[in-house]
Structure formats: C-alpha cells, structure tokens
C-alpha cells in the first residue's frame, strides 16, 4: 500500500557556524551583534529533515513536501537561493524573528497556525518534520509544542531513520542515551518527527529543481505574513560569551616516545 503523504518540514535559518557571534542587548532583549548582516544557512538538522522528506516523497508517489520557514524575509530569500536547488518543495514563509533568544512556544504557535491553514490538509496523511534541535535556541522543544497545537500525540525526537512498512506502519529509530537507538512502530500518520542527522548526504545542487522551486519561492516570500515572535514573560539577566581562549603550549620536534609518555602520565593523573 503506497500512501501519498503530506510532509510539512519546519525549518529556519541560523548564522554560518564559522562566523564570530557576539551577544548584544537591545530594547526587546538579547540578540546578536549585526544579526541581519551575518551570512545565514538552513538550520542543519532541519536541513536533514528536508532531505529525508524529499526522499520519502520520492518513494511514496503522490506525496508532497512543504517547507514552512519562519525568519526575517530578506534572510529567508538569501538562503532559499541555495536550498531551492536541493530538493523539490513548496515554501510557506512567515516573516518574523528567528534568533536564538525567542521562545519556542511562540515559534511553535506561529508554525502551527500556518500548517493548519494549508489548503487541502489531510491529517491522516500528515507527517510534520523538523530538526530535533535548532543551532540557535537549541531547545528541542518547538516540534512537541507544535504537535500539541495540532493535536498530534505521536511524536519522535532525535530521529535517524523512518521506514514505511507495506501496511503503512512507520518504523522509527530515535537517538537515546549512550549511542543507542530506540525502535518504535507507529500505526501511521499523523506524526511529528524531529530529525537528527538521518542517513542521507546533502543533495548536490540541481539547477532544474532550483528553477521549478523558485517559481513558487518568490511569490511565497512576497506574500509572507508577518508574525510577532518574541519571548513574552522571559527576562534575561545576562547573556555572556565565556572566554574559551587557552594558553596553548605547542610541543614541536619532540620524539613520539616522549610525547606518548607525557600523554599517558596525563591520562593517568
């Protein structure tokens, strides 16, 4: 039995990890210095969710992938230029704050509203994907709150594998403690899956997919609804950048035997 899934991937943008990030406090709370100038990427675990979604859609004929993305419109547009070349999807853009100091509950409420409003949404075919944690807030909370809004009670986090069995049952592997996976069987959609790395490499850029996607991406960005996402009720006392700089002792031209002895002594200390 092949099910045509409606796969909604929630994913936003984060600053390029190679950039230096400095916290600053503004009138509405903390943020990043020059936040709007920092080059951005698709949030990595959300990216894995998107590639897994496209892979599943390919194997389940008739399936469709939406990417619901909440972020500052101008930044979303930049990031979509590359993301759109990866896999086919329809973008639903929401124009609002995507920084790490916003509250997952507010992000989730905005995403849930956008998902519930998707035309032709059929909950019996709905799979909501996302990254299990963002590289900004890193809370791993948005998808569960979103699930509660949508009334979905089959939720999986740290997912590395999803298999659709012949009878439509979903077999799911989630990361748990100690480098192990928990294996679950869920009778089918609707379900919410927060992806970890999964098993797929990042797809190569495909200009053809890019052209097709961009026809929908630009209008989606133009009509992006503006949403207010903050952290109501939260007061930050401080955000600090701890000093990570160490005084590195560089040992050059030492014999491997001497280095080995020093390392063994250190391990045994």
């Amino acid at each position: 039995m092949s099910i045509a899934y409606q796969i909604v991937v929630c994913g936003s943008i984060v600053p390029d990890p190679l950039q230096t990030l400095t916290p600053v406090t503004g009138p509405t709370g903390p943020g990043l210095k020059n936040e709007m100038m920092l080059p951005a990427w698709l949030d990595p675990w959300a990216g894995h969710a998107l590639y897994e979604a496209a892979h599943l859609a390919k194997n389940q004929p008739g399936s469709k992938v939406w990417l619901v993305s909440l972020g500052p419109k101008a930044k979303l547009q930049q990031v979509m230029m590359t993301v759109a070349q990866k896999v086919p999807f329809e973008l639903i853009a929401l124009d609002g704050a995507a920084g790490g100091f916003t509250d997952a509950a507010e992000t989730a409420a905005a995403l849930a509203e956008a998902i519930a409003a998707l035309p032709g949404l059929d909950r019996s075919k709905l799979l909501v994907f996302g990254g299990w944690e963002s590289a900004s807030r890193g809370a791993g909370a948005t998808l569960q709150i979103l699930a509660e809004h949508l009334g979905i009670t089959d939720v999986f986090m740290g997912v590395d594998e999803l298999k659709v069995e012949a009878d439509g049952t979903l077999e799911i592997l989630e990361r748990i403690e100690g480098g192990r996976h928990q294996v679950s069987r869920c009778s089918g959609a609707p379900a919410v899956l927060g992806w970890a790395t999964g098993n797929l490499p990042e797809p190569k850029n495909n200009p053809q997919i890019g052209m097709t996607n961009m026809r929908g991406v630009m209008p989606a960005l133009q009509k992006a609804r503006s949403v207010t996402v903050g952290a109501t009720g939260v007061t930050f006392a401080e955000v600090v950048l701890p000093q990570q700089q160490r005084q590195t002792r560089i040992v050059k031209d030492a014999a491997p035997d001497d280095i080995a002895r020093e390392i063994v002594d250190w391990i045994k200390q």
């Binding site: 791993g140 294996v183 490499p201 009720g233 701890p242 990570q244 002792r249 050059k252 080995a260």
Partner: protein
C-alpha cells in the same frame, strides 16, 4: 508561593538513574532557597515503588505516582498524559526534571498542554527567597544566558552532569497513585526494542573520564603516500579498550562514509562532536588527526582539559583551543601510547 514538583521516570528496574538524582538535588536546593515552597515528588514508570523508596528521605511533602505497564516504555503519548496528570495533581508551579531523552521528547509538549512553558538543557538553577533563574546555552554552546520567567507551571529540564546528585537514605514511603486512563489513541505507537552497536562498536561512553576524538586525518594519505585505515582502526580500538575512553569524531570523518570512502567501520553520526553533533561532558579530551575548527570545537565546551595531536602546527588547536598541542604523527604517538598503557 511556589509548589515544586520533582518529576522523574524510572529505569527498567524501577529505580532512578543518576540524571534523575541530579535533578532531585536541584529541586531540593530550590526548596531550601525559596520561601514557603511546597515540595512534591511525581514519579512515572511501570513500578515506581523502588524509586520512591530510594529517595524517601528527600524532604518531599508527598509522593505521587503514575504506574502500570502502559507507562513502562518511553512513548510520547503515554508519557505526556502521565506527566500532565502528575503536574495537575501536584498543582505544580515549578517542575524540575532530568533532561533525559525520554523527558526531552515529551515535557515541552506537556508544558504546552498544562498552559505553562519549558526551558530545556538547563545547566544552572539559582534561587533567592522569591525568584528563580536558570542558565542555558545558545547557538550551540557559543554563549550562555540567564533568565527568569513569569509563566507557570515552569518546566526546568536539568542537563545531566551539571548538578550534584542528591544523596540520602532509602526508606519505606507511601506513594499516592494518580489515576490515568490511556485512550486507544495514545497507544498507536509501540516501542519494539533498542538498537545497540555491536560490542566493539559500543564506543560512546558518557561516563568516561576521557574523550578521544578521531579526525579525518586518520584516513588521509600519510608521508609514504598511502592511507593506513586498518592500522588507524586498530590503534583507536586498542586505545579505547585500554582506557575505556569514549570515542568522538569530526563531521568530516563520519561524512566520508556517506561519500563511499574508506572510513573507520565503528564510527557513526552518533559519534560526531560539534555544531551538528554532540556536546558531551568529560574531564579530559584528546584530539587526534583533527584540525579543531570552530564548528567542531563548540562541541568541546564541556571538556575541561584538552590536548591535541596534529601534524599541522597552525591548526586551530594551536590558537587557544587546546591546553597542549603536540605537533606530531598521531600514528607514531598512539602506537607508543598503547604500548605504554598495555605494559
């Protein structure tokens, strides 16, 4: 006045794991600091009696429990129902719980269900007589923020390894059962088992005192123009066997597998440390054949003493990321290290 609920799930044997005892330590110190607080314990699992006995002397006014076979597996629907019921029965305003995979999965949703808010991956909890604040990290361990919240119930999920564990005497204690009926809709998912790597691939050891990181250099062409992957595997496995260290990896090394290149057979994405990997806690870390780039070293935030072996004297470890950088061939050094350890 705050009502503190310490919320925990039991392990398969009915007791509490160290992560839960650490969260209990946090809850009891909140109870001491806050004026006029009430303190209640809420337990969920197949059989919660052993856990209640284990922590009987923690000073809680009441022990509540949701138990039964339906609550043995870590499953969102049943865990969320049980946790919400415990929270409501306790009329909790502060819920302190361990940030285990089981609770990370369900408690943010439970907070939403009971009209509250959750903070996850909390690394520090402070309280004065009338105010609680929590600290957690943002942007993958790049910066640390401290905040307070007005919403209640406020769920605080305490990261394992960040707080001292509660210790105290076991005793007999009565657990007040909180009745929960699970609808069929909550049983659409069945946990069927666990996948554990084969014995010699069981390389992730969260409790180890040492982290060994393997970088992509282990698979690169060496001075003789050849790769030496089988020897690299052996050196790393021998070291792990001799030290019981936990094995971490860089993204480049684990990604090689996806690209069809020769890789170390026992590595998976679960070993990856960094921006899109793990941030483990170990007292010491030894990096080998790794460049120490920022997206990797953000995962070293909670590794106290750091040493690195790299051929490149200008690698990032040299620039303040390690305490000691040995500019040397890791094959030669680790061969000797293993020899000394085995002696």
């Amino acid at each position: 006045m705050e009502t503190i609920l310490f919320l925990a799930h039991t392990e398969a044997d009915g007791t509490l794991a160290p992560a839960a005892l650490e969260a209990l330590g946090t809850a009891t110190s909140l109870n001491t600091s806050l004026a006029n607080a009430r303190f209640i314990v809420g337990l969920l699992g197949e059989n919660v009696t052993p856990a209640a006995q284990q922590i009987a002397s923690c000073g809680a006014a009441k022990f509540l429990g949701v138990s039964g076979a339906d609550f043995a597996p870590a499953r969102y629907a049943s865990d969320a129902t049980a946790a919400a019921a415990l929270c409501q029965a306790a009329e909790a305003t502060l819920v302190v719980a361990p940030a285990t995979s089981r609770f990370n999965r369900c408690l943010p949703g439970v907070a939403q269900r009971v009209g509250g808010r959750a903070d996850t991956h909390v690394t520090q909890v402070r309280a004065t007589a009338d105010q609680v604040s929590v600290s957690r990290w943002y942007y993958r361990q790049r910066m640390e923020g401290t905040h307070t919240r007005t919403q209640r119930p406020w769920f605080i999920l305490v990261d394992p390894g960040t707080h001292p564990a509660w210790t105290g005497a076991a005793a007999t204690v009565a657990v007040e059962p909180v009745a929960v009926t699970l609808e069929d809709a909550a049983k659409r998912t069945t946990v069927t088992g666990f996948r554990t790597p084969a014995a010699d691939a069981q390389t992730i050891r969260p409790d180890a005192s040492l982290l060994l990181v393997a970088g992509a250099g282990w698979t690169k062409k060496q001075a003789d123009g050849q790769t030496h992957v089988p020897e690299a595997e052996q050196l790393i496995l021998d070291f792990l066997r001799l030290t019981r260290a936990s094995l971490g990896s860089t993204k480049s090394l684990v990604d090689l597998g996806g690209e069809g290149q020769a890789v170390l057979s026992f590595l998976s994405h679960l070993n990856q440390i960094g921006q899109t990997g793990a941030t483990p806690r170990h007292p010491k870390g030894l990096s080998t054949c790794c460049h120490g780039e920022e997206p990797h070293t953000v995962g070293w935030r909670f590794i106290n003493e750091r040493r690195a072996i790299s051929l490149d004297p200008n690698c990032s470890w040299a620039r303040g990321k390690a305490d000691v950088l040995y500019v040397a061939d890791a094959f030669a050094v680790m061969r000797k290290v293993n020899e000394l350890l085995a002696a």
